[in-house]
Symmetry: C2
Subunit: 323 residues, 2 copies
DNA sequence: GTTCTTGACGAAATCGATTTCTTGGACTTC
DNA sequence: GAAGTCCAAGAAATCGATTTCGTCAAGAAC
């Protein structure tokens, strides 16, 4: 490993001078030339570990997400990365598999690694960011907000999205519009469902609303099973609002098994599948702007890293309905 | 920030003793009790930066991939992560967008960050890992091997996969089997195509083979366009081998636009789309075991990190044809 | 009773870069 | 020409953990 001292020796100057050249401080042209030549010959790269230890800051931001195989989160990661890279930061991606314990581990790592800040897509409402907050380490929650903590958040207007999804199905002539939402402990699931409930209550009355509501787990199998149950009802639905992309993939399977498919059976989904576009298959898509969520979260975090100490903000992005 | 010295002071011992407790060296039970109590009270987390600077090793492995939004690579990442986590390592994911310059930047970062090793899915044949090799930093290439460097690699038997994909289409009665493969500078693209060519030559003769071959870019749009071109031929194909999942999504679009679809039009694809399974849509899937690739690469890398200095190995995994 | 072993534990060096703090010399200024 | 001002650049402290080396005391061996 070639160090700053090797470069200094080769250039015939002190390590201090080398450091100055590297960091753009004032140095005589001659010294600068010598140092640059020596550094190039030795292919010197400053040791980031040492630099970080000394400087106490890191130019790395941690991004903690529940499921790296969900296209929604990869698009979000892409957004974070774009913005962070432009500001000279690297992004470290941490995948928790929706496991609160792994989430806690990664938060500890972020602290111990002296990362400049953390963007967290919380596994559930109980996510504990208190240690980060206590250390004044900037944190931004994305997609879901954190009930218990005073931290910045970026979310979408889930309730409005759920409402307009249901309304557009009713407008298209469907009469029994069901809802498959996520775990009741998850904020987005509650809000999307609430939007649906409001529209459904208006069109069909409160009567049998509960029959048409299913809580699942935001995963493919959960969606498949929930749709199968709905189809097995004495009075099955003719359409459904599904609260995320993975459950929609499962629901489509279940529909297929029953000989049904959109657009004959109405389906409106939160979030698309990029390479197998729901939109192309006669499904209404509530566009959750994942990349923009990531970009907004990164922007907010970078402001905090830059020293912004104002009160916690929440940024709400709009959903758009495609088709 | 609470340091080891704070803990030492609180426990009434030296920093040395605290370090020993943390790392499981021999200490009297009484000291150990005091230290643990103090550490708990102060919520002490050892500073990884300092630890790494001293220890020269990092318990972080870098995973550099060309496209984080491609499910193939996220599945691969999952495999790497599983294996690495089990061995106590964290994984840092770096996304290059197929840009050799970004790849080079991330390789520099891996060096400067003292990562324990790097797993690289090379953007193209020219990927330059010489600096890693020169520093004796362990590297494993995954998915594609590196022509110019003596490094470990994990790949699949692309040629055999391409061959069996084409054969199974001929066996199903298709007679004009085309091929849409990736960039000619990419090894996997060449091999998959070569497998197809061998089978196609046997069944239809060498005559018009080139008409039925298209090089695209491994992306959705490339697949769409290539398929559109094939369908516009005077004698269009009745089936095709497509060399990756994204191009297959595009090819499906083009087929759809022409009023065609599997299984009427024969399609065999390298790699599935997890949430919109090709398998369910009458498409033959050559299963590229992405997760297993990741696991194998991580295993190899961990062996190298552990000190294995043997000659470079290449592990070849088998593809399986589904359905 | 003296020497040797053993074990616990602290002082200090170390990792590599950055950041004071100094120093020494060139250049002004009166 | 003496005093003051500047500026480049080196010496040394610093970040926080680990590790080497040395010390001290208790117990063992003869």
């Amino acid at each position: 490993m070639v160090t700053i001292y090797d470069v200094a020796a080769r250039a015939g100057v002190s390590a201090t001078t080398v450091s100055r050249v590297l960091n753009g401080a004032k140095v005589s042209p001659e010294s600068e030339r010598l140092v640059r030549a020596a550094a190039a010959e030795l292919a010197f790269t400053p040791n980031r570990t040492a630099r970080r230890l000394r400087g106490q800051h890191s130019a790395v931001i941690g991004l903690i997400i529940p499921d790296i195989e969900n296209p929604f989160f990869t698009a979000l990661a892409r957004g974070v990365e774009n913005r962070a890279r432009a500001a000279g930061y690297s992004v470290v991606l941490c995948n928790t598999d929706e496991d609160p314990e792994r989430e806690a581990t990664y938060i500890d790592i972020a602290l111990a690694e002296h990362m400049a800040g953390v963007i967290l897509a919380p596994a559930d409402d109980a996510s504990d960011v208190s240690r980060l907050v206590a250390q004044r380490r900037p944190v931004v929650a994305v997609d879901r907000s954190l009930a218990h903590a005073e931290v910045d958040a970026v979310t979408v207007d889930n309730r409005a999205g759920g409402h307009s999804a249901a309304e557009s199905l009713f407008a298209a002539g469907f009469t029994r519009v069901a809802c498959i939402t996520g775990p009741s402990s998850v904020e987005t699931a509650q809000l999307r469902m609430a939007g649906w409930r409001q529209a459904a209550a208006r069109h069909t009355g409160d009567g049998h609303l509960e029959d048409l509501l299913r809580y699942a787990d935001y995963r493919v199998d959960g969606g498949r099973q929930a749709m199968a149950e709905l189809l097995a009802l004495p009075e099955p639905p003719d359409a459904a609002v599904v609260a995320n992309n993975l459950m929609a993939a499962g629901a489509l399977d279940a529909l297929h098994d029953a000989g049904l498919a959109p657009p004959g059976f109405g389906l409106a989904v939160f979030g698309d599948l990029p390479f197998a576009s729901f939109g192309r298959r006669g499904i209404r898509v509530v566009d959750v702007p994942a990349r923009e969520l990531g970009e907004a979260a990164a922007t907010l975090l970078l402001e905090r890293i830059g020293g912004d100490a104002g009160p916690a903000k929440t940024v709400v992005l709009r959903t758009r309905e495609q088709r």
